[in-house]
Amino acid sequence: MTGSFYASALEIAVSVVLLAAMVTLWRRSVRAIVRSLAVQGFGLATVAAVLGFHLGDPGLLVVAALVLGAKAVVIPYLLTRLVRVDPGSRETQPLVNVPASLVAAGALTFLAFAATRSVTAVVPSIAGRLIPVGLASMLVGFFAMFTRRKAVSQIVGLLLVDNGVALVAFLATSGVPLLVELGASLDVVLAVVVLQVLAVQLRTRLGAFDLDQLTELHD
């Protein structure tokens, strides 16, 4: 793989990750939000694969396959099942509306770049330059958790945070050991299963996936 091809492939894959995170803020339909999470998982797997080819590390290719399976297929599938309980569910009233959310996401991306200047200065490689994107995806995910009302959107927000962490790990260390990634992926899948159970419980008890209902438990 030539240097310039490697650089542009990596950049495109990383951009997919960030764009997918943005799309989750833009779309209102919960089904579309889950779909964009799958796209982000695909982007993340591509990053791992590109790094693996570049470094000639077969272990990293296995990691890429693992990420693809867990984050682009299994988790979106689990979430789709959850969506099917309540098809047509939409983020009708996010705490921050869509245009403002997109502006905030832009600001958060800027903040991510500003805050990691010292890190990118230490890691001068192409991968190192892209580290802020991982942080940006994390911040966007956190922002989604904070502003979206539906349980599924919140789970997606949590997964965006996780994907962001994984992206930073890939870029900063040029490949995560297989064992670590195996553990992390399994962890996330389990977390999603647990959250799915909780969300279904929430719906059966309160008749909605709306987290604001929980405040009634207070006092």
Partner: protein
């Protein structure tokens, strides 16, 4: 057996006592625990006596017992004196506890906590490093708190007292830890020897602030004003033997801590440190005596009197440090001896008084003086012992309280002309404060003895009181015996006290009190012959009694009701009550005590010019508590209520907090990095 083995065996005996207390059936629990407390006290006391006799410290170290730091035990002659003091109170108190058991001490928790409390107090003065000291200190606080709370299920006052005590002792421990850390940071180790070596090279600001912080921390344990507020709450609520232990022994360890910090670790310091201690001691003595004089609850009175006596000891310590700073080393040693003697005496008579108060509560079920009266006739032995201990507290010769106050007066009088201007102003003021304190103490104890034990009973409970079990009487008797012996033959304890004082004051001359039967101060003019005073008093007493008998005219005079004033018989309601006895003192010191008077008059329907009945109540709150602690508590409660608004139960709000914090941190990184 070497001293080291005895120290370890004593500690193990204490832990074994806890095991017995937890495992034995209810009837035997306290007796089992008490028997091993005696073993522990005896072993530690023998080790302490051996150290005081040879003046060689015993050093033990175990790396396994505490992770990271290990345990260091160093029994110096100075610490040994306090081990003896704790043993002096703990052995009779646990004997008394056997009879007192059914008032909450025979639960598993209490019977196990009592030996552990005693053991931790025996070990605190033997701690040789910062970590060991703090662990033992906190264990002591913890077990005493458990014992204060024995009545928590029934009494709201006990729960509140526990909360006050826990808060103040915990805050005190935090201060102590900060003071130690200020000195220990940068030293080569955390043993007291290493810390003392390092502290001698620190700057005056660090040393001074460490001393003041430690004075606050240890002062809160010692019951020094303004950190005394837990004493009048916790002592009344704790069972009798426990309050005797807390007041006689634990409070003395607070003063031990101040000496440890000021002399052993810092090696003395500038005059202002010690004048501060002198001032706080004088305020404590006065404030305690004043409140003791106006209390109507027997144990509350004793608790305030504890603040009074500890204040005197801190005054002596302050004078000692001040005189050392102005190079009057012989007098400094004398004042330190006075401070230690005051503590030992206080342990004896206040231990006896609190145990007696426990006996009274056991016999009558109340500690309100206005419900008592006439107990001397119903409990002759307990009553007589209370009167002797009260006389000792009032510093009447030939009892031990007099010796301590005489030594303090001597060091104050001889120290007044020698030093800086500040000292020349402060010491005469301290003398007058001490004189006033002595007078108020007498008022307080005349009231306690007169209202409680003389006259007629004021309630059915006092009327039906019977003498308590022999174990309780014997417990009080041992301590009262100590009051008499230490008062008549102070030479019995002075060599030990001198050895202790000399080990605390590195490289200073010993206070040479030539002590046979007479007390002769070396270097200054001052002598006392307590044994002769005692003999003279006994002779005078016998002479008056004989004279009265000789002069009494036979046929015996006819007995009638005196001052009958036309009434058929006198009732108990015609006597002084505790409140009415204290009324003049309250009136004079109205500005300090701020009593709340409550006079209810009810009039007959026909005319408002006549009075049908009148009830008078006066309650004296604690001004320091009202002025210093209540506003702080109120502010904390206010902020707590505001803080509750931060958690409305909305998941989004909580996520928002996390998100906001993250963004703020990142912005800070972006701007600063």
């Amino acid at each position: 057996m070497t001293a080291g083995v005895m120290i370890v065996a004593g500690a193990l005996a204490g832990v074994g006592g806890a095991a017995l207390g937890a495992l034995l059936p209810q009837r035997l629990r306290v007796a089992g625990a008490a028997s091993l407390i005696w073993v522990a006290c005896a072993l530690e006391a023998v080790a302490a006596i051996q150290v005081l006799a040879t003046r060689q410290p015993v050093i033990l170290h175990s790396a396994q017992l505490l992770p990271m730091t290990g345990v260091d035990i160093v029994l110096s002659p100075f610490g040994a004196l306090f081990v003896l003091l704790v043993a002096l109170v703990a052995a009779p108190a646990s004997l008394h506890a056997v009879g007192y058991a059914r008032h909450g001490l025979d639960t598993r928790t209490a019977a196990a906590a009592l030996p552990l409390f005693v053991t931790s107090m025996l070990l605190v003065p033997q701690a040789g490093s910062v970590a060991t000291f703090m662990v033992l200190w906190e264990l002591m606080a913890l077990f005493s708190l458990m014992l204060v709370l024995v009545d928590h299920a029934r009494s709201e006052a006990a729960r509140s007292a526990g909360a006050w005590y826990a808060t103040l002792t915990h805050a005190g421990a935090a201060f102590i830890l900060v003071a130690f850390l200020m000195l220990a940071a940068g030293s080569s180790g955390q043993t007291f020897a290493a810390v003392a070596h390092h502290a001698s090279r620190l700057g005056p600001v660090v040393r001074g602030s460490a001393f003041v912080v430690a004075l606050v921390g240890f002062g809160s344990k010692a019951g020094m004003v303004p950190f005394h507020v837990w004493l009048p709450k916790a002592h009344p609520e704790a069972p009798g033997p426990v309050s005797a232990l807390m007041s006689g022994a634990m409070v003395a360890l607070g003063v031990y801590g101040i000496v440890l910090m000021g002399y052993v670790l810092l090696g003395g310091g500038p005059g202002w440190w010690w004048l501060l201690a002198l001032a706080l001691g004088a305020v404590s003595a006065l404030y305690g005596a004043l409140h003791a004089a106006s209390s109507t609850d027997l144990k509350r009175l004793l608790a305030y009197s504890t603040t009074d006596n500890v204040g005197l000891s801190i005054m002596a310590l302050g004078v000692s440090g001040y005189l050392a700073a102005t190079q009057h080393r012989l007098l400094a040693a004398l004042a330190l001896v006075a401070a230690l003697v005051l503590l030992i005496n206080h342990a004896a008579f206040k231990g006896a008084l609190f145990l007696s108060a426990g006996s009274v509560q056991h016999a009558t079920g109340t500690r309100d003086l206005d419900q008592l009266g006439g107990l001397l006739r119903r409990m002759p032995q307990s009553g007589a012992m209370f009167l002797i201990a009260a006389a000792a507290t009032s510093a009447l010769p030939p009892l031990n309280g007099f010796i301590g106050e005489w030594l303090l007066f001597q060091s104050l009088l001889h120290g007044s002309g020698a030093g800086s201007t500040a000292g020349d102003v402060a010491i005469p003021l301290a003398v007058s404060a001490m004189a006033l304190t002595a007078g108020l103490t007498v008022v307080a104890f005349v009231k306690a003895a007169g209202v409680g034990f003389l006259g007629r009973p004021r309630s059915a409970a006092a009327e039906q009181a019977v003498e308590v079990a022999w174990s309780m009487r014997l417990g009080v008797g041992v301590l009262v015996g100590a009051c008499v012996v230490l008062g008549v033959v102070p030479g019995a304890m002075l060599p030990a006290v001198e050895a202790a004082a000399q080990s605390a004051l590195h490289g200073m001359p010993a206070a040479q009190l030539s002590s046979g039967l007479d007390l002769q101060l070396a270097g200054v003019r001052g002598a006392l012959a307590p044994a002769e005073v005692a003999v003279a008093l006994v002779v005078a007493f016998l002479a008056v009694a004989g004279l009265r008998r000789a002069l009494a005219r036979r046929p015996a005079p006819r007995l009638t009701e005196a001052w009958g004033c036309g009434r058929e018989l006198q009732t108990a309601r015609m006597q002084y009550t505790a409140a009415s006895f204290a009324e003049p003192v309250q009136r004079v010191f109205d500005d300090v005590l701020r009593p709340v008077h409550d006079l209810d008059l009810s009039h007959p329907a026909e005319s408002r010019y006549f009075i049908e009945s009148a009830t008078y109540h006066s309650t004296v709150g604690d001004v320091v508590e009202r002025g210093l602690y209540v506003p702080v508590i109120r502010a904390l409660r206010h902020w707590g209520r505001i803080a509750r608004g931060l958690q409305p139960g909305s998941v989004h709000r909580y996520l928002g907090y996390g998100f906001g914090a993250l963004v703020v941190i990142l912005i800070a990184v972006a701007v600063l990095g």
